[in-house]
Amino acid sequence: MTAPAAPAPTASVEHRVHLLREMVRIRRFEERCVQLYSAASIRGFMHLYIGEEAVAVGVMAALEADDAIVATYREHGHALARGVPAGPIMAEMFGKVEGTSRGRGGSMHLFDASRRFYGGNAIVAGGIPVAGGLALADKMLGRPGVTACFFGEGAVAEGEFHETMNLASLWDLPVLFCCENNLYAMGTALARSEAETDLAAKASAYQMPAWTVDGMDVEAVADAARRAVLHIRAGGGPVFLELRTYRFRAHSMYDPERYRDKEEVARWREQDPIPAYAARLAADGALGEGDLAAIEAEADAEVDEAVAFAEAGTFEPVEDLTRFVMSEQEVAP
């Protein structure tokens, strides 16, 4: 089913501009990542979120500092929207010790414990059980936190998804399941891998509210996430959101995109969440002449600073290679 149309509180101009700014920050950051990848400053697997920004930005807007986030390997946007500073994210991709994971994680493994940002998991669906456990801890400790768990629609084919959906519903765990349906699991279209392509219907089988949301509309996402979080915090158990979106770029930097045609990509680009939302804000008088350009310039400056931070960073001494395999504290019986 689609999200019930409860009236949203009138969003302030500041809030709406914030949503736009966050999407622009992610877009500009990742466009620079492409250049830096071509320049070989970034290596390994890198998965871009371009086109899907409204999802992370909308959901993060509904979360509080005490909430937890579990993301996937396509998580630059989630980290930025959660408030992880751009400098350490970029430094991580440069493999520098100033990076979020001291250069041990790279693009796919961004972490920030201080912001309850639990990564950065490169096994499809692998983060979902962990999100269930974070929520279990909150529940057992009587804390009000909600755990937002992001995963793609490809994860819906994994056992870990089904096992955790069942567990979360059975135990009324405070989990917000955020399924980012960008239509392709790497190169496999949903209809080629799922007998039932209605993802909300699948989720409903686990006895939890399941709403389908336009993931290209940041306000629709933010509104659905806000209502879902209210439901969860009130003790209503988990909620599943299917966020319909599209990845404008290839799956990773190695993807020749044989599985989809250019016309399809072009059609989706017409729904680009950023210009569409900027136009809506302008029409509502929330964005004035030159405001978008100013936001973009700010984002560019932030990215410049992040790149400079990463370039000025240092490498972990090789002597420290085996640090952080086990914790650096003695355990006495």
């Binding site: 493994h109 639990y118 279990l136 069942n166 019986p333």
Partner: protein
């Protein structure tokens, strides 16, 4: 007091739950059923269903939930019924628990304890008889322990729960009914050192877990022949306590490794290789190994017995290394 291995494990859990509100147990049939091997029998009545938590048959979800709960500030004990089922949760253990600390640059330690039954010897056939603790000991980021005595069954759990990193506890299925005397004040024990369970001069038998009894029985038999065998119980399979092993071999000059795991690519191979690398000039004979036959463990008693390390196999290996050096 007289007790059993099973009761010692249960008492360790009861003690941990009383000491620390963050400790809870979850797994398949740990509550109403009392545990597949009756280890948690009675705990549900004492601690309630929130802390003695029955799970669906979803190994990956509840092991992952244990990891997540540990990240969230709890101290979970996750019981996976047997090591065979732990394979369904291998993604969470290997890609998750073992990697998170390193992959996050030291930010996220995972204080979870995962208990499971291991080993053969009960005519349970190929899918319920694996000894895969050596596999797990291959993985950086995990601590792997194998209590073989009542003291360790009683004492390892609390230390494991205090450990900031994931600890896997392997309980050999044939040990649950092991009976003996345990000191009334028995408490936590270290998870760092191997133990010399029997002192000897002529050779060192290195073993752990379910085959400790086999090794000790072999040592008794060897004594009757005038061969004095030292028996080392590794206790912790990762990280291994090499000084204790190497010090012993330096005195006895001969080593036999007894391991219920398969020989190829095994923990026994690791011990033999390291002894050869580190103590080559102390050795009077090549290191010998007694392992399980390279077959899926069969059901029929005579076939299963033939597949597993038995006392005569250990005795023969010991005689061989002693004879090989003219001792």
């Amino acid at each position: 007091m007289k007790t059993t291995y099973r009761e010692a494990l249960r008492e360790a859990m009861r003690d941990a739950m009383r000491r620390d509100d963050r400790v809870f147990l979850m797994g398949e049939d740990v509550g109403a059923y009392g545990g597949c091997f009756a280890v948690s029998l009675g705990l549900l009545e004492e601690f309630g269903p929130d802390r003695i938590r029955d799970t669906p048959l979803s190994e990956s979800a509840f092991v992952g939930a244990g990891i997540g709960a540990a990240l969230g500030g709890m101290r979970p004990i996750v019981e996976v019924m047997t090591v065979n089922f732990s394979l369904l949760a291998l993604d969470q253990i290997l890609n998750g628990a073992a990697t998170l600390l390193h992959m996050s640059g030291g930010q996220l330690n995972v204080p979870v304890v995962i208990r499971m039954t291991t080993g053969a010897g009960r005519q349970l056939a190929a899918q319920h008889s694996h000894s895969l603790e050596g596999w797990y000991a291959h993985i950086p980021g995990l601590r792997v322990v194998a209590p073989a005595t009542l003291e360790d069954a009683r004492g390892m759990l609390w230390t494991a729960l205090e450990d900031p990193d994931p600890v896997l506890v392997f309980e050999h299925g044939t040990l649950y009914n092991l009976e003996g005397e345990l000191a009334d004040d028995a408490g936590p024990v270290d998870l760092d050192r191997a133990a010399v369970r029997r002192a000897g001069d002529d050779l060192t038998i290195v073993t752990y877990g379910g085959t400790l009894g086999t090794a000790l029985a072999a040592a008794d038999g060897l004594e009757a022949e005038g061969i004095s065998a030292e028996v080392i119980d590794l206790r912790t399979l990762r990280p291994l306590d090499w000084p204790t092993v190497l010090e012993s071999v330096a005195r006895t000059h001969r080593a036999v490794v007894v391991d219920e795991g398969w020989r190829t690519g095994s923990l026994s191979a690791e011990v033999a290789a390291t002894v050869t690398e580190e103590a080559f000039y102390d050795l009077d004979a090549p290191v010998a190994r007694v392992c399980s036959a390279e077959v899926p463990i069969p059901y029929a008693r005579h076939l299963e017995e033939a597949a597993l390390p038995q006392v005569p196999d250990v005795v023969a290996a010991a005689q061989h290394v002693v004879g090989a050096s003219g001792g």
